[in-house]
């Protein structure tokens, strides 16, 4: 069994409720931080832990916190990003539904560190039942002196509010989230200024993912240095992976970042392999926006090393032969799946979710979707494949926010690794509506280039 830091007590009956959570050591980290440490000391522990943002970008959390501006007399805000809308990602939901106090404790410690007295949890609107769970937990925490005025006699005040979104993936982008929290359309802001200087209501603001903030609790419990001993290299600690698609045991798993992708997919502890004796065709390991990899590149890097579940190993080889850990939305495709169809659903998703502010994303996402739809429906032309490549190339890097890139990457990666499948669709329009291209050569062992003599 891999070591657990977030889910170590997840199996305990009733851990959702305050009493059980507290009886099992809950709020111990908060007590330690508030009563015996200065905010600077807590920040130091977070820095030492090497914790990287779990929302997708993997930016070091300690560093992010140290950027927050501290002008005199201006409030600062902590915003918890619970928008979780990247296809394949459903890990934050699990944390909030089943261990809400872990998040609240994390918010308390983080707010103390940042000097915030109000904190907002922005949760996607479709998770309509979760605000009730969170609000109940907040009320219980308050009753027991962990929120409100003069928390545990330390003089620190904190209120946590839950704000529901209303159906917009783009509100996961931190500045769009802030706009939405201000009661506006979720249009990402043009940066700079960054939220750390001018965020919510123009005040310094930190936006962090649910999992990031919850992870602060075990960091304080065991200490930053100890936390950094989990995992591999710069991928310290554990990570929640939400696994879905064609696997035997879809669900949310906490992994220590030292296992291989192969182990994650095939071991009984995690995904439990692929159902019906099918073979692995491809995988999108970090949520829909990260590049898709064929089986052979997924399990081994281009250098022939086993691919590990770490930020570094998954991105080994860059976009040419690698991908990203992203938000940990692990999507597995078996040999019966169609890459064109899958790419189409992602293109449709990003088209649906574009805010429409900047022209490459507003116009380009719809264009890609329509071209893909033609190919999928047997009306594609060979030139459409190059056209798609050109469209994605002109979106990527030229937009206001990374949604443009997120829309471009899946299309680029699908063409890069599965071009013959697209061509097959174009050349066999009749057949392509009836059957799939299948596994083809995507699982064939790679030729490993001999290391160049130095």
């Amino acid at each position: 069994m891999g070591r657990k830091l977030l889910f170590d007590k997840a199996h305990i009956e009733g851990i959702r409720y305050y009493d059980v959570y507290r009886a099992n050591g809950g709020y111990g980290s908060a007590e330690k931080a508030l009563k015996s440490m200065s905010p600077e000391q807590v920040l130091d522990e977070v820095k030492k832990s090497g914790l990287r943002g779990r929302g997708g970008a993997g930016f070091p959390t300690g560093m992010k916190w140290s950027f927050i501006a501290k002008p005199e007399g201006v409030p600062r805000y902590l915003v918890c990003n619970a928008d979780e809308s990247e296809p394949g990602t459903f890990k934050d939901r699990y944390l909030m539904e089943f261990i809400p106090h872990l998040l609240i404790e994390g918010l308390l410690i983080s707010s103390y560190t940042l000097g915030c007295n109000s904190c907002y949890i922005y949760i996607r609107g479709e998770y309509a039942w979760i605000p009730d769970i969170l609000e109940e937990a907040i009320a219980d925490a308050k009753k027991n002196g962990w929120l409100g005025k003069n928390i545990q006699g330390t003089g620190f005040d904190l209120e946590i509010y839950v704000q529901r979104g209303a159906g917009a993936y783009i509100c996961g982008e931190e500045t769009a989230l802030i706009e939405s929290l201000e009661g506006k359309r979720g249009n990402p802001r043009i940066k700079p200024p960054f939220p750390a200087v001018k965020g919510l209501w123009d005040c310094p603001t930190v936006v962090n993912n649910v999992e990031t903030l919850a992870t602060v609790v075990p960091i304080l419990r065991i200490g930053g240095e100890e936390y950094a001993k989990y995992g591999t290299g710069k991928s310290t600690g554990t990570k929640l992976i939400s696994a879905c698609g064609n696997i035997n045991k879809p669900g949310v798993y906490e992994i220590e970042m030292n296992i291989s992708v192969e182990e994650f997919i095939y071991s009984d502890e995690y995904c439990g392999g692929i159902p019906n004796g099918k073979r692995l065709k491809a995988c999108i390991p970090g949520g829909s926006s990260v590049p898709i990899l064929p089986a052979n590149l997924l399990l081994k890097t281009a250098k022939g090393e086993p691919r590990m579940m770490t930020y570094e190993s998954l991105s080994d080889g860059g976009f040419a032969t690698g991908t990203m850990l992203g938000s940990g939305g692990f999507i597995v495709l078996d040999e019966d799946q169609c890459i064109v169809k899958n790419t189409l659903t992602f293109a449709r998703f990003y088209h649906h979710e574009s805010c429409g502010q900047c022209s490459p994303c507003r116009e380009g996402t719809g264009w890609m979707k329509r071209v893909l739809l033609n190919i999928e429906n047997g009306k594609g032309k060979m030139s459409d494949i190059d056209l798609l490549w050109d469209i994605q190339r002109k979106i990527e890097g030229n937009t206001i926010c990374p949604l443009g890139d997120a829309a471009a990457w899946p299309v680029a990666a699908a063409i890069r690794h599965f071009r013959d499948e697209f061509e097959w669709h174009v050349l066999h329009p009749e057949e392509a509506t009836k059957r799939n291209y299948g596994l083809a050569h995507y699982a064939d062992p790679l030729e490993i280039a001999a290391p160049a003599a130095v």
């Binding site: 917009a168 043009i190 900047c358 490459p360 507003r362 380009g364 719809g366 264009w367 979106i395 030229n398």
Partner: protein, 363 residues
Amino acid sequence: MAEEKKLFKVKIDNISVEVEPGTTILNAARKIGGDIVPPAMCYYSKLQGSGGKCRTCLVKVSKGSDADPRPMPKLVASCRTTVMDGMEVANITSPEVLDARKGVVEFLLLNHPLDCPVCDQAGECHLQDLSYEHGADSTRYEFKRRTFDRVDIGDKIQLHMTRCILCYRCVFTADQLTEKREHGVLGRGEAAEIGTYIQQSLDNNFIGNVIDVCPVGALTDKTFRFKNRVWFLKPVDAHRECHDPKCCGKTVLWMRGDEIFRVTARKDKYGEVEEWICDTCRFDKKEAKDWIIEGPRQIERQSVISQGHYVGVHKPKDPLVDVLDGRQPKLLLDIHNISEVNKPNVDLSKIQGPAHSDDFNKK
């Protein structure tokens, strides 16, 4: 020259300029002027918060600053990126920028009707200029274009959403110039559109300025009695004593003979109004006696409007002939082909003084 304030040295396309800290790359480029100024379809210096959206002004920062010389990893929107001391920027000298800009223009035109010949904005349209300079020969878009019906917003302004490029300028104008904003962006993504609160008339004494800020033919003046034909009008500078304290009273009258066909604010060479005017001046003062005429307006734009050789026109040198390899500009129209009113053999520039309807009636 011992200045108090330290100026930042910036190089754009290898031309040096010194600007105050806080200046954007675009404004630094405008200070240099000429061909190296990036096109700007959404930025408007007089509107707070504008810019960043259209992406036509993307440039490459090849050196961040003297302190941190690393290049910026992506192209940046020059209208929203401020300069650093020692920064080096590439605009028309960067093939990467020109390629990206070509892409942006293609995106902007993707759902655009391309019917300049019947568009009210033809001849003074920034998108027309832009596609002339950076557009492709033909569209690669094979799908149905998005269309909208024209709607009247009140009896003076017409909105034709089909032509809108969602630059948000009119929204900023309505927000920043008028008391009660009734005009905004509805919908999301590709379906986003400019809308008014239940198609209400925009009855505010400054709302007419949305016509002037609109870079395309999406918002037009319904009181303009000579649509599609701006190139037959002679622009003159004029002013009047306006009682609205926020209105400068300085305008351009678009005339033929003694008739005033349209009143607009005065625009600089980047198409931005110099000062706002009120709706009374714009819509209600259409008699020559209302105005004190100063003289011919100098138009410094490159589109067809300046093809008429007006007195005092500064015609910018056209650097794009080289870039375009002699290719024909796509959206430019031959006015003589489409004009039903005017005789092709009448050449405006040859007429002494203001053109008059008599000039066109002559057989």
